[in-house]
């Protein structure tokens, strides 16, 4: 399977578990829940009185704790808050995989943060661009500017949709079905794909409604999102289940992958499966799907 051999950048990131930065008891268990990545939160999950404590806790975990195979991202406070500077000052030197920047409404928001991060990297002797930036789009303006935001700096490796603030900005309610976000989601995914970065979907807030989460997760998988944030460990399995390709899809993808391999081996320019010609983007998609499938077990007796 190709997935396991691909480099770090292409590690699967189906689920991103939010953990409040001021909860060491939860952070210490971060790796046990099976999430692909965690989001240590300094922003909304942390009360104003705990901001300093959370920043200290998160930076000491980043320095001294083994997170195993997890991708670790820190959500910092927005640029228009008094915490932004100190968050960057303390978090960037700890070299998380990425920082998530809330409320990106323009390319300029990204450029300013990027400049600040570059300075801190330089000051601390860290290679430039070590810490990636995930730009969070949670205003109508930000969504409209999605492609420009994604391409504002090479540091940006992902766009993420902030559904709560965005629906508020749009003056609508977040519904169970989520149609109000359909356009925004499509727009963000397309912009991300065009810019060659990942796209992450917003959280499902009702932890007592795993069925609703599953429906929404299926939707965003079909739209093309790379992953979805979770606010409780119990949501991880549900999200992963939504990303699970059907056995039928997997079989087809594997046939395409094999045909591509065979074509490459014998030096044939045209790849065909079941008598039909297959284009390069279809091959690429089949390889991605096979990589995702390698994360799951497929029982022999599974219905096709």
């Amino acid at each position: 399977m190709t997935g396991k051999n691909e480099n770090m950048k292409n590690r699967p990131c189906r689920s991103m578990l939010y953990i409040p930065g001021d909860s060491p008891g939860m952070i210490q268990n971060a790796e046990v829940f099976g999430a692909d990545s965690i989001l240590l939160d300094l922003e909304d999950a942390v009360a104003a009185s705990e901001k300093d404590a959370a920043r200290k806790i998160v930076s000491s975990f980043l320095r001294g704790f083994d997170f195993g195979p997890l991708i670790v991202t820190v959500r910092i406070n927005a640029a228009d808050t008094e915490y932004f500077e100190r968050d960057l000052e303390e978090i960037i030197p700890c070299r998380p995989d990425a920082v998530r920047l809330p409320k990106c409404s323009s390319p300029n928001d990204v450029k300013e943060a990027d400049a600040r991060i570059s300075e801190i990297e330089k000051k601390n002797g860290i290679p430039a661009g070590s810490v990636a930036l995930h730009a969070m789009l949670e205003t109508a303006l930000g969504v409209e500017d999605a492609f420009a935001v994604a391409t504002a700096s090479p540091r940006v490796t992902a766009l993420t949709l902030g559904g709560q603030d965005l629906t508020a900005d749009m003056g609508v309610q977040k519904t169970r079905e989520g149609w109000e976000l359909f356009y925004a989601r499509s727009r963000v995914v397309l912009a991300a794909r065009a810019a060659g970065v990942m796209a992450f979907d917003t959280v499902w807030t009702d932890i007592n409604d795993p069925d609703g989460l599953y429906q929404e997760s299926k939707q965003i998988v079909e739209l093309g999102f790379s992953g979805k944030a979770a606010i409780h460990p119990s949501q991880i399995e549900v999200i992963h289940r939504a990303y699970r390709p059907s056995y039928k899809e997997v079989r087809k993808a594997r046939r395409i992958a094999e045909a591509a391999e065979e074509a490459a081996r014998v030096g044939k320019g045209v790849i065909s499966v079941d008598g039909k010609m297959v284009d390069a983007p279809v091959v690429a998609r089949a390889l991605r799907l096979s990589a995702t499938a390698s994360l799951y077990d497929y029982e022999e007796d599974e219905e096709i």
Partner: protein
């Protein structure tokens, strides 16, 4: 007190003054397999004369009539859990009547009964036989203040000790949620209903005198669900209330939301599945701890999906087990102790829900206790060690704070015994080089499931292979211990172990598996 090393390297006395001789522990089944029949205690022959009512005028009168004297042994059951008011009522009455030097031999002591410490202090109680001790009583014993002989037994071990005459009950005071004038007792109805009276049945079989205490005296006869029939009961005493019904019949325990417990539960279920044991005819026991209970959710879903019907569920029965019986996922439940109010209804109404006594449950010296037929048991622990030995009695501070329960009985009996345990608690690693006290020998523990990996006893190579083949996160117990200690640090050496022995712990076969030592303040 002369101590001798047993087969697990633990120092145990050969004699406990005022109690008797003991043998050191050797192996789980060494004494049991192939044992020749032994004479034991026999039920007393006794009459009360022909009568239409055994109701005594008061508890005092009943005690006087029972012939109880200083130095005798009294027993109680713990089925009313933390709602029980009968133990304090009887002990206070005995104290007022001027009794001294009694042996207190309840099936266990509910957490709430700190008062027992006071009755030791005043001299009413000068020997203690129980399954567990907690709270102030635990502190009093561990500190050495109690200074009385204490023997801790498992539920199966207690039944064996009663049957062998080691615990010779003179008067059993049995709380009876429903009772008639001639002493037919039922546990599954009345304002203080608690479900099964399994542990009390054994007492009623062997005591010299049995007093049923009820707050629900009904018209003769109690016809349905008789736990203890009238021919085993000498007297009936009425009291306004057996206790607090809210604490007796607690609601069905909710499935935990604790993600660590849920992770442990899921991996436990996966291990059960990988072992191949979850098949038609499957028999199962679980506790009511967070992780244990959550296993039943996965199990229920899987058995439903695959159309698997198990043969029996055993033990302390929770609402979730009785629901599985109701859904036809098990053909029967053998219930020695019901855990919550939902179960009480099932005991009363479902013919497949069968009340059993403690010997039937776990007594090793019988021709067939049910724990020996278990396919799988899920057990909790306070901590474990690298040899898979389990401690359920003593906290990290060295103080008694737990109960032996059916732990060692079911671990020995079940084909697959799994201990579920978070890898660290209160900042202390749960895997020790050596546990402070062995309740259950590692030889009888097949696997330990933590949130950070599954530990499989090297004796179970087959299980290890199955778990690996299923892609489960199997880790080496020493490696996990090191990994956790990197997180938590290593605590200072625990309380001194060369102090005075303040209690002894019996294995189910009556040998001594470990001693409990005084903790210096």
């Amino acid at each position: 007190m002369k101590l001798q090393r047993n087969a697990l390297g633990r120092n145990v006395p050969l004699e406990v003054p005022g109690v008797g001789q003991f043998e050191p522990y050797e192996s789980p089944f060494g004494k049991i397999d192939g044992m020749a029949p032994l004479a034991g205690a026999r039920p007393f022959l006794r009459t009360v004369g022909r009568s239409r009512s055994k109701v005594a005028s008061s508890l005092e009168d009943a005690i006087k009539k029972s012939g109880l004297q200083d130095g005798m042994t009294i027993s109680f059951h713990h089925h009313l859990r933390n709602g029980d008011a009968v133990i304090p009522l009887v002990l206070e009455t005995l104290k007022k009547m001027g009794f001294k030097g009694l042996t207190f031999a309840p099936s266990s002591i509910p957490d709430a009964h700190d008062c027992v410490a006071d009755y030791i202090r005043c001299g009413l109680i000068n020997r203690l036989y129980t399954s567990g001790v907690r709270g102030k009583l635990g502190q009093m014993i561990s500190s050495g203040e109690a200074d009385i002989p204490v023997v801790i037994r498992s539920h199966g071990g207690r039944a064996r000790a009663i049957q062998s005459g080691q615990i010779a009950i003179d008067v059993a005071f049995l709380a009876a949620p429903t009772c008639d004038a001639l002493g037919n007792v039922s546990g599954s109805s009345g304002p203080s209903a608690c479900g099964s009276l399994g542990y009390a049945i054994t007492d009623a079989d062997y005591a010299r005198h049995v007093i049923a205490i009820t707050d629900n005296l009904v018209e003769y006869p109690v016809a349905r669900n008789i736990s203890i029939p009238q021919y085993k009961v000498d007297q009936v005493v009425t009291t306004p209330s057996l206790g607090d019904p809210k604490k007796i019949a607690t609601g069905a325990a909710r499935i935990t939301r604790n993600p660590v417990d849920l992770k442990i539960a899921l991996d436990t279920f996966r291990l059960m599945k990988a072992s191949g044991i979850v098949a038609p005819g499957f028999s199962f026991q679980m506790g009511v701890g967070g992780a244990s209970l959550a296993v039943s959710v996965y199990l229920e879903e899987y058995m439903t999906k695959k159309g698997i019907v198990g043969s029996f569920g055993l033990g302390g029965i929770s609402g979730h087990m009785s629901r599985m019986l109701g859904k036809g996922l098990f053909r029967s439940l053998f219930d020695v102790q019901s855990f919550d109010a939902v179960v009480t209804e099932s005991v009363a109404d479902n013919p497949g829900h069968i009340e059993i006594d403690a010997s039937c449950y776990a007594n090793p010296f019988t021709p067939g206790c049910l724990v020996h037929n278990l396919d799988c048991v899920i057990l909790a622990a306070l901590d474990v060690d690298v040899n898979f030995n389990v401690n359920v009695l003593i906290g990290n501070d060295g103080v008694l704070r737990g109960a032996s329960g059916g732990h060692c009985d079911t671990a020995a009996g079940a084909a697959l015994s799994i201990v579920v345990l978070p890898s660290f608690r209160g900042g202390v690693c749960s895997i020790k080089e050596e546990v402070s006290n062995i309740t259950t020998p590692g030889e009888t523990v097949d696997a330990i499931v933590t949130e950070r990996g599954i530990l499989i006893n090297p004796l179970r190579k087959d299980l290890l292979e199955n778990a690996r083949a299923a892609g489960l996160p199997v880790v080496d117990i020493r490696e996990l211990k090191q990994k956790i200690e990197k997180l938590t640090g290593r605590p200072d050496a625990p309380a001194e172990k060369d102090g005075k022995v303040v209690a002894v712990v019996e294995y189910r076969d009556g040998t001594l598996i470990d001693s409990v030592y005084q903790v210096k303040k």
